[in-house]
Subunit: 233 residues, 2 copies
């Protein structure tokens, strides 16, 4: 029942940001050669079939058959369809994380306010999520079912990042001091859930720019009004 693959996670401590990669190959024995070949064939096949007909229209059985393996083999590597989808995005998710982290380091070095960094992060996330929405939908569908191990859920690092930025914004006096950073992080990420975003883009015809602007207006609302501190004591 536990997941077979452990993905990388972003770790942001109080002072700095680091990327910690946890790989399954750190274990005792290396993967068997035939297993590696099969895994790669599975991924290549899934990618091709998904591209041809869409993620939702391709069954796990079909992927297995097309890849020339049995269902048992497929499920040994990927507990469910979501995990397979996650694996297909893995390198792009790593790249995205790396880009965000270095961008934030640069902005921090340049003295850009944390709330501005947050707005920028959300903007980037809008584009990333929109592009990968079909795969992410599958991923999130399955991860929401798992109660245990929230830390391992694929988008925990998004939450970590937003939360850390909010905490720093509070520490830097950019917001009201009693902001509930943990909840607000959840609330800001909720409209970026793949399903929700897809609905907004495809059914409501919201553009990515419009969504970004809307999120930024919410972030701006967190800002302590500049004249407030000279007001009623």
């Amino acid at each position: 029942m536990g997941r077979k693959v452990v993905y990388n996670r972003t770790i942001m401590d109080g002072q700095s940001i680091s990327l910690q990669v946890v790989q399954p190959e750190g274990e005792s024995r290396p993967e068997r050669r035939d297993a590696i070949e099969n895994r790669e064939r599975i991924l290549a096949t899934a990618e091709r079939l998904f591209a041809e007909r869409g993620v939702a229209e391709v069954s796990m059985a079909e992927i297995a058959q097309s890849a020339g393996v049995g269902k048992g083999t497929l499920y040994r590597r990927f507990c469910n369809k979501g995990e397979l989808c996650l694996a297909l995005m893995d390198s792009q998710m790593r790249a995205f994380q790396d880009e965000r982290l270095s961008e934030m380091r640069e902005m921090t070095a340049a003295g850009v306010p944390y709330l501005t960094q947050l707005a920028r992060f959300l903007e980037a996330l809008v584009y990333f999520t929109r592009i990968h929405a079909p795969l992410l939908r599958e991923v999130q569908q399955h991860s929401s079912a798992l109660d245990e191990e929230e830390v391992e859920r694929p988008h925990f690092w998004q939450y970590m990042t937003v939360h850390a930025l909010l905490q720093r914004a509070v520490a830097a006096n950019e917001t009201l001091p009693d902001l509930d950073t943990a909840y607000v992080a959840e609330a800001l990420l909720a409209p970026l859930e793949a399903n929700t975003l897809r609905f907004q883009v495809e059914n409501l015809n919201f553009s990515a720019e419009r969504i970004t602007a809307g999120l930024q207006s919410l972030v701006r609302g967190l800002r302590r009004a500049e004249r407030e501190d000279s007001g009623t004591g």
Copy 2:
């Protein structure tokens, strides 16, 4: 493929709020007696089984069998499990809508700002959603799959309400004038999606009070800063 039951919807036009109930019995022929009996037996059975073992643990086949009808009969009434769940909540959803509408009328009459009304609406919605989360999860799971007829999706009235309140807040000069009310309404409701709320309550141990407070801080952020209008032109 179309839905068998049409539920009530809240209609908020520019000036007033009204509740429009659309009932299937407005059609040509009344329902057959045996059909009515079966429907009631199905609903009672489903309610009992859900209470005993949880919504997710009860299959449609089991409901049909326990109610003494075939699967075909069950699906004739309720296109999917979500619709069945929706039917089980119907009276309570109507009551909730009525309460909100009359509350808002009173508040408007008393001159309560629209953003305050919005905060109050979201608070009530937190409690409602939390209580009905198991059923709502099923409902939302299915409605997100349907692309067409967004107007009919069960929570459209929530969106309508929030959107209308935001529009009035803009008109009443309570917010910045360029607020994207359509998007912000979506964004404020996203963290109240049943799945999301359940995760926050059960896995993160957020209390309803905490969630309400967090949402209120976001709503407060929409408020135009009081001293702003005397500032830079």
